[in-house]
């Protein structure tokens, strides 16, 4: 029953090659040429169309800003071309076959019994060969990029800058092993990773609890942070810039709001930033007048859970916003700041948060020594405005459900309470909260934390 490509001449003068007529082959060639043109235009199309932002968001994998993400995008384009062309050919033939051979009238559904051919080994084997060939086109750049993206290239190793990124439920801690502070060890920040631009950065990926994944789409694809495993990735920002990142591995209740930012600075700015970060927390002397008269109290209404913490103004020029954040705020109120610093101790914030040079010494929560100079709070979730910080301090569980500041930390010997004290037997919070923050207290804390430039 096997057929070996019988070439037969039909009465209408066309040739039948296997089951394919020659005109149909030419027609499919035409389809192919058209499809090539369409696919060639694809990168243009993907680049963005006026307001169409489907592929140009802050975490776009197309708008690459560094060689690692670029190399990954190049591989993606290869796969897109190969599969796109194959799709157009196969889909074209499928569509053609469907229309050409369908029964046109209901009454002749069973009228015609077509030739009961069982296959054609030459066509079948040929198509297997072609498939393998198409895959080779993908395999070669894939292999090259696997080695390139894995680690800093040998010739750039000497200039690479090294940082440690540590995932925690649900925030990121960043350590700078190259920057040692006398008496205080390694420089540590939280949720905003500042790196030198134009220089490869090797990031050691660690976690202190469950699996997280470090992903800054414009700079590099993700690599997971896995307990008991020393992972790393490398990336390079070609130019100074401001980048969005997010945890990409499901890590528990608030996974969706575990985000971070990366800021790339030129060599001078980076050195200045490091030097400033190494200094202890800024102290505002009581009764001193700085930078103008105290500003009027801000308006605060709790916007409720999941409310947005971003603004169009910020998004327009995030890097400029970051630079502005390094300056001391106008209208500081020294008295309020001093009060906030006391409340920070009274509310036991100090047992988890560190404020180097001030009272805080905790290490289980983000280091707040220079919190006032960060553009975001709550792990890259909210812009670091007075209202947002107030909201985060006063209503943490509505911003990030299940966060440790609110529910506390389970320990071997019971539970260290957060805003609420959880009864280990029932898992329910006790009726009286452990920490309450009134509106006035929150305002003082906001003033204090924002003074920590």
């Amino acid at each position: 029953m096997v057929q070996y490509l019988p070439v037969t001449r039909l009465t209408n003068g066309t040739y039948l090659l296997g089951q394919m007529t020659l005109p149909s082959i030419f027609r499919s060639l035409k389809t192919r040429a058209l499809s090539c043109a369409a696919v060639a235009a694809m990168p243009l199309f993907l680049g963005g169309w006026g307001n169409w932002n489907w592929l140009t968001g802050p975490q776009s994998t197309f708008d690459t800003k560094g060689p690692v993400a670029e190399s990954q995008l190049d591989v993606f384009y290869v796969t897109l071309w190969v599969t796109g062309i194959t799709f157009v050919i196969v889909a074209g033939i499928l569509a053609y076959a469907t229309f050409k051979f369908r029964a046109r009238k209901t009454d002749d559904l069973k009228a015609v019994i077509p030739h009961q051919g069982h296959g054609n080994p030459l066509i079948e084997l040929g198509l297997i060969g072609l498939s393998v060939l198409a895959l080779v086109f993908i395999a070669v750049p894939t292999l090259r990029a696997i080695w390139y993206t894995y680690d800093v290239p040998a010739e750039e190793k000497a200039s690479a800058y090294e940082v440690n990124a540590i995932g925690l439920q649900w925030w990121f801690k960043f350590e700078y092993p190259a920057e040692q502070i006398d008496g205080a060890g390694t420089l540590v920040t939280g949720n905003e990773l500042v790196i030198p631009a134009g220089r490869p950065v090797r990031i050691n990926l660690r976690t202190s609890d469950v699996i997280h994944s470090f992903w800054v789409p414009k700079l590099a694809g993700k690599v997971d942070m896995i307990p008991n495993r020393g992972n790393h990735l490398w990336l390079k920002a070609d130019e100074p810039g401001y980048f969005w990142g997010q945890c990409a591995e499901y890590c528990g209740e608030s996974h969706a709001v575990m985000r971070f930012r990366v800021i790339a600075l030129n060599e001078t700015d980076f050195a200045a930033w490091v030097a400033h970060q190494k200094t202890p927390a800024r102290t505002v002397a009581p009764y001193s007048v700085l930078n103008g008269a105290p500003a009027a109290p801000y308006e605060f209404n709790n916007p409720g859970r999941n409310a947005p913490g971003y603004s169009a103004d910020f998004d327009k020029a995030p890097f400029a916003a970051w630079q502005a954040k390094q300056e001391i705020d106008a209208g500081e109120d020294p008295a309020l700041i001093a009060q906030g610093r006391q409340i920070f101790q009274q509310k036991t914030c100090t047992s988890c948060h560190a404020v180097r040079g001030h009272e805080g010494a905790g290490v289980t929560a983000p280091d707040l020594t220079h919190i006032g100079s960060r553009t975001t709070i709550a792990a890259g979730l909210l812009e670091n405005t007075k209202q947002n910080l107030h909201r985060w301090i006063a209503h943490p569980n509505e911003v990030k459900p299940g966060n440790k500041m609110y529910v506390g930390v389970p320990l071997q010997s019971g539970v260290m309470a957060g805003y609420v004290k959880i009864d280990p037997a029932t898992g329910k919070p006790e009726e009286t909260p452990h920490i309450t923050v009134s509106d006035a207290e929150a305002r003082a804390l906001v003033a204090y934390l924002h003074s920590l430039k």
């Binding site: 802050p58 051979f101 069982h118 296959g119 895959l135």
Partner: protein, 648 residues
């Protein structure tokens, strides 16, 4: 024609020399042919297939409802429709339900119902084991879903439950949280069901084929049943081990995955995906089998390149065990392992592509009848092709570093699982409905449901490719409105609602047709395989009046073109069978459901750490198995009325 069967001998074999022994009530086999007892004690592969099918469709609706809640939450940015916790439970249960409680059992329903008919057998090799597999499946499904109704809530660690998120340290931070235990026990029990069922299918296909039904004449759906069954018995041990280790960690303080005790969380991922990747093919190969049945029937010509389709299915089965780490390209495996798994994953695209070429070859030169099952099968080809191409994109590990755990992956696997598996299963329901229920689904409503589902599906999932490439991670309960994700998410939600309407139409039409649909003669589609040679629709309990003799690959097509020869042969065989004692049928039994109930009771007590209850459940199971053994194989003969048996 209904088969006029008389059951003249119940409880033991006609040829047994020993006198009829008096048995205690406990070991007396139930004989109810209708009513609740007949279903609870059934060993008929068709009834068990229906039980599987109805349960699977129920859970398909449950999983779909969960998906709609997820899509409503994601319709707009910063939405507060549901909490993060509930969202996490919903996506965990949506995936677990769709994979283990909808697609797998729906495939199992077709395995059960169609495979014995396709090979010309009267039942599966171990009928009681078949019943046991179903009841155990139901027990597992109950354990998995019970969390919705108790304090701890439903499982919330994701369907692949990555350690150490599943450990007591992170899932029970403050109080005993048994949701993860429910997940562990539920999957463990479902694994028992799958392995038991698969062994049964393998033995049946190898041993119970009708005379002349050589392996290379097997219908492709039966071939895919065989390959899938092997995949199940070879891959489920991996997840069984992983789940036992996790259960040990959670209940008895071992440290397989606990870092503080020196455990390795990455071990879970390897064990899980060594199961999990073959599982992907467990979900798609039956679908490919169904499509390989439907296309030849409606193209009215044999499958193009049958041997290559069969071998490519088997090749996919083999290679499927060598690609698991492509789910782990971002776990820092190093360059060599990443490269190896990248290339192997590309390699698996070849046998998959070959199937697509051969299906197109089947259409080529045919006379295509555009009936509803054909529409769904063609829909499958288009959607599976697109899912296949995005799969090739993932195989390039560097590109996957951006796509992994993003909505691009979500788009990809819904294209292969809905566009692939579900479309084919929906096609299969339409295709075999006339055979199973003797009624025909209206072409208008069938096609309407197809188009609404097809459009709704694409509107839902195509935009997700863009979401993923634009950096939206999966499993996120909320997103900000400044990320460029708003339009695509809203469109996807609208699409999901359209898809929901399509599914509602589909189910409505099926239910209507079951009660009021137009009656059909058997062989509604002028089909080609043996299941359509049953003497009546619905098929009689004994399937075939005479065990068919197979002369060609498309056995029924051959019969239709060689009527005289087949008539003569059947008459001879009927006489031989009658002389041999009539048609041998298996006896019903209570013990499969008793043993499965023991498993259910034991699991629920174990999850609550009430070990006495767990042991009691185990005892019930062992008692069920013991009495099952003691009651013996049973079986009885039926004799067809001579004057009726030639009328089909």
């Amino acid at each position: 024609m209904s088969a006029h069967a008389k059951t003249d001998f119940v409880g033991h074999d006609t040829h047994a020399a020993a006198p009829v022994e008096k048995r205690s009530w406990l070991l007396t086999r139930p004989t109810a042919k209708t009513g609740l007892v007949s279903w609870l004690t059934t060993v008929d592969h068709k009834k068990i297939g229906l039980l599987y099918g109805i349960s699977a469709l129920f859970f398909f609706l449950v999983g779909g409802f969960e998906a709609l809640l997820i899509r409503i939450q994601l319709a707009v940015p910063n939405n507060t429709f549901i909490s993060h916790q509930l969202y996490n439970e919903l996506f965990t249960m949506h995936a677990t339900t769709m994979i283990f409680l909808a697609v797998m059992p729906l495939s199992a329903a077709f395995f059960n119902y169609m495979m014995p008919l396709q090979i010309g057998a009267r039942d599966v090799a171990f009928p009681r084991l078949n019943g046991f597999a179903f009841w155990v499946f139901l027990a597992g499904a109950i354990v998995l879903n019970i969390g919705w109704f108790v304090k701890s809530g439903a499982p919330d660690a994701g369907w692949f439950g990555y350690a150490p998120l599943t450990s007591t340290a992170y899932s029970n931070q403050f109080a005993g949280d048994m949701s993860t235990d429910l997940w562990v026990m539920g999957l463990q029990i479902l694994g028992v069901s799958s392995v038991v069922g698969s062994l049964n299918f393998i033995v049946t296909i190898i041993n119970m084929r009708a005379p002349g039904m050589t392996m290379m004449r097997l219908p492709v759906f039966t071939w895919m049943t065989l390959v899938t069954a092997f995949l199940i018995i070879l891959s489920f041990p991996a997840i069984t081990i992983a789940l036992v280790e996790l259960m040990m960690d959670r209940s008895f303080g071992t440290s397989f995955f606990d870092v503080s005790g020196g455990g390795l969380p990455i071990l879970w991922q390897h064990l899980f995906w060594i199961f999990g990747h073959p599982e992907v093919y467990i979900l798609i190969l039956p679908a490919m089998g169904i499509v390989s049945e439907i296309l030849p029937t409606f193209a009215r010509k044999p499958l193009f390149g049958y041997p290559i389709i069969v071998f490519s299915g088997a090749t996919i089965g083999f290679l499927g065990f060598g690609v698991w780490s492509h789910h782990m390209f971002t776990t820092g495996m190093g360059t060599v392992a990443t490269a190896a798994f990248s290339l192997l994953t590309m390699a698996i695209a070849v046998p998959t592509g070959v199937k697509m070429f051969n299906w197109i070859g089947t259409l080529w030169g045919g006379h295509l009848q555009m009936r509803t099952p054909m529409m769904f099968a063609l829909g499958f080809m288009w959607m599976f092709m697109m899912g296949g191409f995005s799969g090739v994109m993932h195989s390039a590990a560097p590109a996957d570093a951006q796509q992994q755990d993003s909505y691009f992956v979500v788009a990809h696997f819904h294209y292969v699982l809905i566009g692939g598996s579900i479309f084919a299963l929906l096609a299969g329901i339409h295709y075999w409905f006339p055979l199973i229920f003797g009624r025909k689904v209206s072409e208008f409503w069938g096609k309407l449901s197809f188009w609404v589902i097809f459009i709704g599906f694409n509107v839902t999932f195509f935009p997700m490719h863009f979401l993923g490439l634009n950096g939206m991670p999966r499993r996120t309960a909320v997103y900000d409105g400044n990320m460029g994700w708003n339009d695509a998410n809203l469109i996807a939600t609208v699409g999901a609602l359209v898809l929901g309407v399509g599914i509602a139409i589909y189910f409505g039409v099926m239910i209507y047709t079951y009660f009021k649909g137009e009656k059909t003669t058997h062989d509604e589609w002028d089909a080609r395989t043996l299941e359509w040679t049953v003497p009546s629709t619905p098929p009689p309990e004994h399937n075939f009046d005479v065990i068919p003799t197979v002369h060609a690959r498309d056995a029924f097509w051959y019969e239709k073109t060689h009527k005289a020869e087949i008539e003569k042969e059947k008459a001879e065989h009927a006489k031989a069978e009658q002389d041999h004692g009539g048609i041998h049928m298996p006896s019903q039994s209570w013990f499969p459901i008793v043993a499965a109930t023991g498993l259910l009771i034991g699991a629920i007590f174990f999850v609550n750490h009430i070990m006495i209850g767990a042991i009691a459940g185990g005892a019930i199971m062992f008692l069920g198995v013991y009495l099952w053994a003691v009651e013996g194989p049973g079986g009885y003969h039926i004799h067809l009325d001579d004057k009726n048996h030639d009328k089909h």
